[in-house]
Amino acid sequence: MTPNVDERLASIVRALSEVILPHLPPEASLAQEQVHLCIGHLQILRAQFDAVPAFEREELDDAVAVARDLAGTVTGGEQTTAALAAMNAAVAAADGGDVRGQRAAVLEAVDALVKAVSADGSSNAKVALPGIILSHEAPRTLKDRQWFAPFGFDTL
């Protein structure tokens, strides 16, 4: 790819920083703030661009992993059984062909299962479900925090 994505983003950052920003009048505070944010966004995108496919693939794998653990433990009544079936179908379809869409489908199904277990899950399921979710989400949220740490909100 010529020019490559990094070269294109770099040229946009330079134009914003060295051509546009200095020419904004002092009273254009909103425009100045937004140019600074654009530059920050683009610099982080430049740094992360090559890693995005692997990160999103891992997000999908982690979603499938929590769903599989829940499926292996959770039982219950009619609502829980239906939610489990829908979740298992979403997991079965998660072949990586549409990473974002498949992850969203699996997580929606997990969300529905959480609600279903609250309604008619077995007592064992109600006890086990929070622990399963927390054990998966602890490392997952840490990965997310590290990914977004360059934005400067986090004190990791």
């Binding site: 937004q34 944010l37 997990v110 969300d111 959480v114 929070p130 989400e137 977004f148």
Partner: protein, 382 residues
């Protein structure tokens, strides 16, 4: 909970939700231009203050939700006064009601330092969106030279200002909570006293519904938190119902940098009658505080236990740790909804004047997911 209890919330919040849902199909919004705002203000004051002249309109930087402009108004007698126009974009990171904020500012005048509310256009009948105008108060939200922090998060005050501000910060909160809303009712502010769970139920219903309307992208910890909140509503006996500020933290008050005097408490738009623990949980959020050498300070003013015990001592109230834990979880959940659903929905629909800020703030959601994992893992203190 039944459908009936899921719909249980203040009427104003139902109106806000309906408005947000209805606005979804409207065309994109763009930032107002200074000449446009000048014309709007001039024609407004032709009606409400004939003979007055508007000049010096300029945009106020910072903030993540409203379009704000300073301007000077010269009345027919020649008296000049600086004002602030706060105008809603079509959709914002927090959806609130200008009239409610206006009523509250009027009620708080003389109770705690607040900007003087002057005019309000609650339905956007003159301005393109709901708007309010208040007198300008001098002061800063952060020390000069403290660097750029998006939306005042994690402001570092330093030792000197900390010493000057902390007592005022806590005493003002205690004073707000002591406001006698039964003797001096606030128009439009309903009291959640149908049963002991209503205070908590109203707030989670509102935030769950916001999440639903804005199509927040779910994840397992959010699903778990939503269910946990619904299953663990803490009772709020009538004596624990107070006027809450709703967004009480460093960054939401003005102070005089030289004296350290708080000159105005700002951003009252999330205020309601609720459980006093709700404000405490918000003040104690990690994102609004600082970490220095392993020491966390809420709003860079108090360590956690110090804040709780000082609040108890000054207010005469007893902090229930189980209830506070619920509101700790709720605060992280609210922040998640604000950043991951409300802000991103406003940006996606191009209904805001600073989409790029909203997507930038959206990158903080992982912190709140992490907070939810930590809080739900540790459970309520014994």
């Amino acid at each position: 909970m039944t459908t009936a209890t899921l719909n249980d919330m203040e009427a104003v919040n139902r109106r806000i939700l309906d408005r947000r849902a209805a606005n979804r199909s409207l065309p994109p919004y763009r930032a107002a231009l200074i000449p446009e705002v000048t014309d709007l203000l001039a024609s407004y004051f032709d009606k409400v203050c004939p003979g007055a002249v508007v000049d010096g309109v300029r945009r106020v930087g910072g903030g993540a939700s409203k379009e704000q402009f300073f301007f000077t108004l010269t009345d027919a007698e020649g008296a000049r006064q600086q004002y602030l126009l706060r105008m809603d974009p079509r959709s914002a990171i927090t959806e609130t009601d200008r009239e409610r904020e206006f009523i509250l500012l009027q009620a708080m005048a003389g109770v705690v330092p607040v900007p003087e509310a002057a005019w309000v256009d609650p339905a956007g009948s003159h301005f393109p969106q709901p708007a309010a105008i208040m007198k300008v108060v001098s002061g800063v939200t952060k020390p000069s030279g403290s660097g750029v922090k998006v939306s005042g998060l994690g402001t570092w005050l330093g030792e000197d200002l900390r010493a000057k501000l902390r007592d005022q910060f806590l005493d003002h909160l205690v004073t707000i909570h002591a406001y006698d809303f039964r003797a001096n009712p606030l128009p439009g502010f309903e009291v959640p006293d149908a049963d002991d769970l209503q205070a908590a139920r109203w707030v989670i219903n509102y935030w769950h519904e916001l999440w639903r309307i804005d199509h927040g992208e779910t994840r397992p910890i959010v699903a778990l938190a939503q269910q946990w909140l619904a299953d663990n509503l803490p009772p709020c006996p009538p004596e624990n119902l107070v006027l809450t500020h709703g967004d009480y933290r460093t960054g939401n008050y003005l102070f005089d940098e030289a004296s350290g005097q708080i000159t105005a408490l700002l951003d009252w738009e999330l205020a309601r009658i609720g459980d006093f623990h709700e404000d405490l949980g918000w003040v104690l959020m990690q994102i609004f505080g600082t970490n220095e050498d392993g020491t966390f300070r809420a709003s860079d003013l108090f360590e956690r236990e110090e804040f709780i015990t000082e609040y108890e001592r000054r207010s005469g109230r007893t902090v229930n740790r189980t209830t506070l834990h619920f509101y700790d979880v709720l605060s992280s959940y609210k922040c998640y909804v604000i950043c991951a659903a409300n802000g991103l929905a406003a940006a996606r629909s191009q209904h805001n004047h600073q989409d790029v800020l909203l997507t930038f703030l959206g990158c903080a959601t992982a912190i709140f997911a992490g907070d939810l994992v930590r809080l739900l893992s540790q459970g309520a203190p014994a």
